[in-house]
């Protein structure tokens, strides 16, 4: 009897445990159509989402010296968010382009990359070509988003203070709990980590598995990113080396075809012209990214955000319309367009399209979208020139500057270190109400004295870069890296600078934009002010 009891107990307990286990498998049914990342294809597909879907363009343009305040008559053409950005204040208003969205979007991309890397490990490591390439892509994506975050939310990298400057948290694992707390680390640490990821990725990067390579970190994009990163990292030789890998033997064949863009002329709709600029079949585009952004409106003939404008005065004294070493805008293959009239004074190139993703065509709801080249041959060429100048290889630098200039303009000027020096020493440094294309440079890494060949050639490269990157937000990074002092000024009714309201000095802490409000509220350390 007693024995039987025990036997029954054992049998029934066994039943019970089997039943609980089988209940568990019954409950393993997926509650919805979520996916399990358990194959090469799925990991590659997941990596497709490892790119930020918000950009820095509007934010950076409005903080940089590419805009002026157009004064009270334009009061209707702004938003509270833009007012805060323009005046380098901590943003409180939410907006599609807000720093919070940029923060979240970059970290979301990082999360996808980390998840993909984790899945590769779970699958037994990157054993096949496809997995290797996917791993390279994920590493590069993780590095790129951290690169953007560091450059936006921190002081720029420099070998002197970056071991102390607050960085952003460098995340290498997917987050698994609700509200973990992070340390910010240092800018130097972030750069070391980016360096590590890039070095791990470059040997295995490849393009064999991409259907749409231009929207992924293909090898060219990878090397272009490496070139920019090492330029920012003050490792000039590496920057030049990777740029050369990227550009190959004949960079000239890769540059933007401005003549074709010019042939589209000025029409009611600038979209077809912009579509040319972000054409995936163009050799000049290495990596195209899409984002929820109104950058397309900001750089168009639409009356949006015209209070802060790349206006005629600015353009004709500092960049697009200004006299430069090649001549002036009449020598450009694709002429900048000037729109001025009621509620608008803007000089544009029409590069980034304004498009609308209509999630509901009946309710007319959706997102403003744009596409931008994150890496482009033209800019990589100028970045290589910059690296050569820092390496004092002036002839090589001049070759690149010439290549860019002859593609951008019809000018028959041939640049040499000497004529660049001559041209720039003759120019005055810009003042807020007497602007020129030349501004004082105070880079932390130190350069030869003002008027030297190096300084003059840097002036030339930076002025070309400013033209090349107009309306793409990248000028802001040069302002940070070279410690360029810029001002906030109001343009008066006669189109001239009326009033200087603020200025940003070399070590101004506002160069690192504030950590988003909610993130600070959750406990992450704020930037000092």
């Amino acid at each position: 009897m007693k024995k039987n009891n025990i036997l029954y107990s054992i049998v029934l307990l066994a039943f019970a445990s089997i039943s609980l286990a089988s209940c568990d498998s019954y409950l393993d049914k997926m509650p919805d159509n979520r996916a399990e990342v358990d194959s090469e294809d799925k990991i590659a597909s997941l990596t497709t989402s490892a790119y930020p879907t918000n950009d820095y363009i509007l934010l950076n343009e409005c903080m940089s010296d590419n805009v002026d305040d157009m004064g009270p008559t334009y009061a209707n053409y702004t938003s509270r968010f833009l007012d805060q950005v323009y005046s380098w204040n901590d943003a409180t208003d939410e907006d599609n382009e807000s720093s919070e969205n940029l923060w979240q979007s970059c970290y979301k991309a990082i999360a996808s990359a980390n998840q993909a890397l984790k899945s590769i490990e779970e699958l037994g490591g990157a054993t096949t070509t496809k997995l290797k390439e996917t791993k390279a892509e994920a590493l590069l994506c993780r590095a790129y988003s951290h690169f953007i975050l560091t450059n936006e939310f921190c002081m720029n990298y420099n070998s002197k203070t970056s071991t102390k400057d607050m960085g952003v948290s460098y995340l290498t694992e997917p987050e698994t709990t609700l509200d973990p707390k992070y340390e910010r680390g240092t800018v130097a640490h972030d750069y070391e980590m980016i360096d590590k990821d890039i070095q791990e990725a470059l040997p295995i990067v490849g393009d064999t598995h991409y259907d749409v390579p231009k929207y992924h970190f293909n090898s060219q994009a990878a090397y272009a990113f490496a070139a920019r990163f090492y330029l920012f990292y003050e490792k000039w030789d590496k920057a030049a080396e990777y740029a050369s890998v990227c550009l190959g033997a004949s960079p000239k064949t890769m540059l933007q075809n401005w003549d074709k863009m010019q042939s589209y002329g000025v029409t009611n709709s600038l979209t077809p012209r912009c579509n040319l600029y972000i054409d995936a079949s163009s050799n000049s585009n290495f990596l195209l990214l899409t984002s929820i952004s109104e950058a397309g409106l900001f750089g168009s003939n639409h009356i949006y955000f015209t209070k802060y404008s790349h206006n005629t005065y600015l353009a004709s004294t500092e960049d697009l319309l200004a006299t430069n070493i090649y001549g002036d805008s009449r020598d450009m293959r694709c002429k900048p367009m000037t729109f001025s009239g009621s509620g608008m004074d803007r000089v544009i190139v029409a590069k980034l399209p304004y498009m609308f993703e209509e999630t509901n065509p009946v309710a007319k709801t959706g997102y403003s979208r744009t596409v931008y080249p994150a890496f482009k041959a033209d800019l990589t060429l100028l970045e290589r020139a910059e690296a050569y100048i820092m390496l004092k290889e002036y002839t090589k630098a001049c070759d690149d500057l010439n290549a860019w200039m002859h593609n951008y303009t019809n000018s028959d000027v041939v640049l040499t270190p000497q004529n660049i020096q001559a041209y720039y020493t003759a120019l005055n440094y810009a003042n807020w109400n007497a602007p020129t294309i030349k501004k004082h440079l105070y880079p932390a890494f130190g350069i030869d004295k003002e008027g030297s060949i190096q300084e003059c050639m840097l002036q030339c490269a930076l002025s070309f870069k400013r033209i090349e990157t107009s309306y793409e937000g990248l000028r802001w990074f040069d302002i940070k890296r070279y410690g360029i002092n810029i001002v906030r000024r109001t343009i008066n009714a006669s189109g001239k600078p009326g009033e200087k309201t603020d200025s940003l000095t070399t070590n101004d802490l506002r160069r690192a934009i504030q950590i988003p409000f909610k993130v600070r509220q959750a406990g992450l350390q704020a930037n000092p002010r």
Partner: protein, 1140 residues
């Protein structure tokens, strides 16, 4: 695998259960049922102790049950007034030595006690306890009321039913203490907002669980509490029980505290409503017919605060003086009314008459405007009818000892209170029971219903994140149209909406939604009683629902025409429903809908099944001194939902329904990343084991405990999160069973105290399921078709700590009866602590999401419930009974780390904030009008401002200036009812009330107005000249110049809409029902060969006895959100009942 599980679980349960008594276990295992009787004999011997000494007359007898005529085993037989007695054996027989002329008292749990004269060979028939109050139906088991320790209310459907309201859930309003029913929309198929003891969750639905005949009813679509009042089309299928015919319902049992609901443990946090449908009874047979004929009143402008056309036109004139409604802008405006039409007529040349539609003379124009001034259109009359809604139901019920059945059919036809809102509903219900043997019963229930409904076309509302304004393009809801449209407009003219001609009558005909809902449910239950004390049963149920919503936007509807409106080059340029080819430099906007209309179809299907195996053991020992009731079992549920959506462009309704689409539609969709069709599947699986034990000592002290262990797949694959044990422990003291209570009788006739403590839970909002990372697939937006690809993306990051939302509840209850229970008072006091609630946490965002849902919140709530029923007068022909129900509930969020913005806190839905009720509403402090008539406010920096309110501000320090107004959920609700009967006549007067909440008034103020909208009468009192600010708080109508100089003027008017000026109390007392019924006398009826005949006239929702004056006719319960939402009408119903 599933079967395996069920069987194994069942066996496991048996094992647990059988350990209670090893001997019985042997019986079952050996399948030796003969031993059973011997066993019982042994038990009997054990209990027998007395009665041997007095050898008088030895009486033997049998005790049988009236129900099935089978012997009652284990019934107590006592000699009256002594402690001498015995228990019946396995054949229901007993023998006892009884002194002469002594009576015997025979009792058994669940049966009525009988006292009979002792006779040799006597046969005692025990009736089941009949009185309705005595049994509590928890949906899983039936319990003796005296053994029940939880808080519950039973509602007899017959009494509660409001005739003419086909959705039975609405009639629960005011019927039970602690239950609030808010009719946020009165449209058929829309669920009312029902709360049992208030909110239990912050983001969860707080909806009670509906259990019909023991089976949980699942919603076809998950519609959250806020969405219920949204007016969106999916609210039409939000009511899980709209397919039940109210005539088929026997009763409701509302389970309120954790002790009552804990058998449903992990789903029962928000209370349970158990519905029992009618069954056949043995020995009775009926056919009955019920017909209801309902007429609804057309709303009247006299109860609303809307300007007449004369006042309205004077506003338009002021607008014109202020730089609006001029020719250049209005003639090509998106929307225009009176003035737009005038400019159109001025431009219309009729070549046959050689005349313009309107001569361009000052006189002609003035005449045109004057006619508008006198028009006073009654939109309610135009768009509403008082057509008769009728509901017919026929039922047959019959039964013998062997089998009983109930079958019914019903048909409801509603031609529509408003235009374009027809409903037809057909239901069939069949319920049969068959007694295979005394030990085995088999029951079958099946029901089916079909609904066909028409509703005005609507698309889902969208909220502007910046201004907080809720927009619904193309809204044609007749109720909100009547309230919001200028009375100066004519009913026949076509005005302009979205650049296209618009006329409401035409639009309601051309733009509508067809809803089809079919529900099918069947279930079978097999019960086996191997012993009288033990019942084993298995239940299997299956349900299927198929719903479709087909939105037909016909060829000539405004919504279709808007896609091809390009009358002038300005319109062509501005109409954003047109499409411009981005590939073509010189492209002009073209229509993507050159012909036909749009058909937009959504299908939601649900298939679910349930399986449950239970065992119940009831026994009493020692003459009912010890009563034990054990119940336990396991269940599995499965629900699969499937939805598809499709939109067809260019459906030519007028041309034989042939599609003719423009290829640009697809080009555009592809470029703009819009879906062309979608599909989705979700699956819910759950498994639960449960056990409940009750012990009673002498019927005085009752101890009860429940445990349930539940698992669900809802929280993803994580095995740690999915399982949750829930439990309760409770006790009751039936004071009236104590010997000392005799001294209190008859003044006090009944007294019970109850106490319970429990843990119950819920799964939280349906969109929070990320115990593991959720990866989904999507098509990322790309500019051109050539560079498109699909991707997997992280939809939700992992939250490994995700768990159920939980609730601890302490309940103290008291039931008192006075004067032979003519006065009954029930009272419950409870205190709840809800924790692990899902909240929106603000995180550092380094994982990729700044705002994440997780179990971060907690709240506490407490309340009092009181129900008093009295029989005031009870005479032979006349009786008067009253009932008074009151409940108070208060909740407070105690822990919530989240970020909210000013917009969240001031908009009408309320928002959770630590230290405040779950749905608390705040206001921007209004500080009077300034010298220009613009409103001023206190702002976040403590300054006075007009446009300086930052709605997006989310710094808690800068939100302290907001004024707390109250909760949007009422805190005090209840009812007062009186029933008078005189012979066959009965009069019922039923009043409901609700207090303690605040309501945000409709946001009618704006920095600019058009000539289409109506305005409330407040505008008569608006600021017009400087100095007016001292006498009025109604801001000025801003001029075009004011708007041009201050781009942020909209902030000022928006702030005004959300200010302390625009808030009202939600308190009301409503005359819910007055009815007069007459039962024709039996003698008279039987001469017609009928068994009964009655007529009832009922007026429902007649008027508000009290409401805040600031509401000005706005129904405090109803959310006027457009779409398909209409309030519950005032209605009169005539009900005819015939029984044969």
């Amino acid at each position: 695998m599933r079967n395996n599980c069920n069987l194994a679980c069942l066996l496991y349960y048996f094992y647990l259960f059988l350990r209670v008594d090893n001997k019985i276990k042997l019986l079952i295992i050996n399948r030796d049922f003969f031993m059973e009787k011997k066993l019982t004999m042994i038990l009997v011997c054990l209990f027998l102790s007395l009665g041997m000494a007095f050898a008088q007359t030895k009486i033997t007898g049998t005790v049988v049950s009236q129900d099935d005529g089978e012997p009652v085993i284990g019934a107590s037989v006592f000699i009256q007034g002594t402690k001498t007695g015995t228990v019946t054996d396995g054949e229901g027989t007993f023998s006892l030595n009884v002194p002469a002329n002594k009576k015997l008292t025979i009792s058994y749990v669940g049966m009525e006690t009988e006292s009979v004269q002792a006779k040799p060979g006597m046969k005692v028939v025990l009736k089941p306890s009949t009185s309705l109050q005595e049994v509590v139906v928890t949906g899983m088991q039936k319990m003796d009321r005296r053994m029940f320790t939880g808080s519950t209310t039973k509602i007899d459907a017959q009494n509660a039913k409001i005739d003419g309201l086909p959705d039975i859930s609405r009639s629960l309003e005011g019927r039970a203490a602690g239950v609030s029913v808010q009719n946020v929309s009165g449209t058929f198929g829309t669920a009312p907002k029902i709360r049992v003891r208030g909110a239990t969750s912050i983001y969860g639905s707080s909806k009670p669980l509906w259990v019909v005949d023991g089976v949980i009813m699942e919603d076809v679509v998950d519609v959250s509490a806020d969405q219920l009042s949204s007016g969106n089309a999916n609210t039409l299928i939000s009511s899980a029980i709209a397919g039940l015919n109210s005539d088929d319902i026997e009763s409701f049992q509302i389970l309120k505290d954790g002790s009552a609901t804990s058998i449903y443990g992990a789903r029962a946090m928000s209370g349970v409503i158990v519905v029992t449908t009618k069954k056949g009874k043995s020995g009775q047979s009926h056919i009955s017919y019920t017909g209801e004929y309902t007429m609804r009143l057309i709303p009247s402008y006299s109860t609303f605060n809307i300007m007449n056309s004369q006042d309205q036109m004077s506003i338009y004139q002021e607008l014109q003086q202020k730089g609006y409604l001029n020719y250049a802008e209005t003639s090509t405006a998106v929307n225009s009314g009176i003035y737009g039409k005038m400019y159109e007529l001025l431009n219309t040349y009729d070549s046959t008459t050689g005349m313009f539609g309107l001569a361009n003379t000052t006189k002609a124009k003035a005449e045109y405007l004057r006619s508008a001034e006198y028009r006073n259109t009654n939109w309610f009359k135009e768009l509403f009818t008082n057509s008769i809604q009728s509901n017919h139901s026929v039922s047959i019920s019959a039964g013998t000892d062997k089998a009983q059945y109930y079958a019914s059919l019903s048909a409801m036809y509603d031609p529509g209170w408003t235009k374009s809102s027809q409903v037809q509903r057909y239901t069939a219900n069949f319920n049969a029971n068959y007694n295979v043997s005394p030990k085995i019963t088999f029951g079958l229930i099946s029901s089916a219903s079909y609904r066909k409904q028409k509703a005005p076309g609507t698309i889902s509302a969208s909220t502007d994140a910046v201004s907080g304004k809720v927009n619904r393009a193309f809204d044609i809801n007749p109720y909100s149209f009547a309230l919001n449209t200028s009375r100066a407009l004519s009913t026949t003219d076509y005005y302009t909406r979205n650049y296209a001609p618009f006329n409401i009558n035409n639009e309601l005909e051309q733009n509508y939604i067809d809803v089809n809902v079919s529900d099918f449910r069947m279930q079978a239950k097999l019960a086996y009683k191997p012993l009288r004390q033990l019942e084993l049963s298995v239940l299997g149920a299956m349900k299927y629902s198929a719903t479709s919503q087909e939105h037909n936007i016909k060829d000539n509807s405004n919504q279709a025409m808007a896609y091809r409106a390009m009358g002038t080059s300005t319109i062509r340029k501005n109409n954003n429903y047109l499409y411009t080819n981005p590939d073509d430099i010189y492209a002009l906007p073209v229509s993507v809908l050159p012909y036909g209309g749009i058909v937009d179809r959504t299908d939601n299907n649900m298939f679910g099944y349930d399986f449950r195996a239970t065992a119940q053991y009831n026994d009493s020992f020692n003459n009912d001194t010890h009563i034990v009731n054990l119940y336990g079992g396991m269940e599995t549920n499965s629900v699969d939902r499937h939805n598809t959506w499709f939109r067809g462009w260019g459906m030519q309704y007028d041309m034989g329904e042939t599609p003719s689409y423009a290829y640009q539609v697809f080009k555009k969709s592809s470029e703009q990343n819009s879906d062309y069709y979608t599909m989705g599947n979700t699956s819910e699986r759950s498994v639960a084991f449960f056990g409940n034990g009750t012990y009673s000592y002498k019927g005085r002290y009752i101890l009860n405990g429940t445990i349930r262990y539940e698992g669900t797949n809802r929280l993803g694959k994580s095995r740690s999160a999915r399982w949750l044990p829930t439990w309760n422990l409770s006790g009751a003291w039936n004071v009236h069973e104590e010997s000392f209570f005799k001294s209190l009788e008859p003044v006090m006739s009944h007294l019970t105290f109850r106490l319970s403590y429990s843990l119950t839970a819920d799964r939280g909002p349906s969109n929070v399921t990320n115990s593991r990372v959720i990866i989904k697939s999507q098509n990322p937006w790309r500019p051109f078709a050539g560079v498109k690809e699909s991707q997997l993306y992280i939809s939700d990051l992992e939250n490994s700590d995700l768990t159920y939302e939980k609730k601890h509840e302490l309940n103290f209850g008291m039931d008192m009866g006075f004067l032979n229970n003519r006065i009954n008072l029930g009272m419950d006091v409870y205190s709840r602590r809800n924790y692990d609630l899902i909240g929106l946490a603000t995180t550092e965002g380094v994982g990729g999401e700044v705002m994440k849902y997780g179990n971060i919140a907690s709240m506490k709530s407490s309340g009092v419930e009181l129900s008093l029923s009295t029989t005031n007068i009870k005479a032979k022909d006349f009786s008067w009974t009253s009932s008074f129900i009151y409940s108070h509930t208060h909740n407070q969020v105690t822990d919530l780390r989240t970020t909210s913005s000013i917009m969240d806190l001031v908009s009408g839905n309320g928002f959770a904030q630590e230290g405040y009720p779950v749905r608390s509403l705040f206001s921007i402090p209004f500080k009077g009008l300034n010298r220009e008539g613009l409103p001023t406010f206190l702002d976040q920096d403590g300054k006075i401002t007009t446009t300086g309110i930052y709605f997006q501000e989310s710094d808690p320090e800068k939100m302290k200036f907001l004024k707390y107004e109250g909760s949007i959920d009422p805190t005090d609700v209840g009812s007062f009812g009186n029933i008078f009967t005189y012979k066959g006549l009965s009069l019922n007067v039923f009043i409901t009330y609700s207090f303690g909440n605040v309501v945000r008034l409709d946001p009618v103020f704006s920095n600019a107005y058009d000539d289409l909208s109506s305005m409330p009468k407040e505008f008569n009192n608006r600021w017009t000249v400087p100095g007016d600010e001292t006498r009025t708080n109604i801001p000025v109508i801003a001029s075009a110049i004011q708007n041009n100089t201050d781009a942020n003027l909209s902030y000022a008017y928006n702030a005004y809409n959300y200010s302390t000026e625009r808030i009202a109390k939600g308190d009301f007392i409503r005359m819910k029902e007055i009815s007069l019924g007459y039962d024709f006398p039996k003698t008279w009826v039987s001469s017609l060969k009928l068994s009964n005949l009655s007529l009832k006239f009922q007026a429902t929702n007649l008027f508000l006895i009290y409401a805040d004056k600031k509401l000005n006719g706005q129904d405090p319960e109803f959310f006027n959100t457009g779409g398909v939402a209409v309030p519950v009408p005032k209605q009169f119903t005539l009900t005819l009942k015939i029984g044969i």
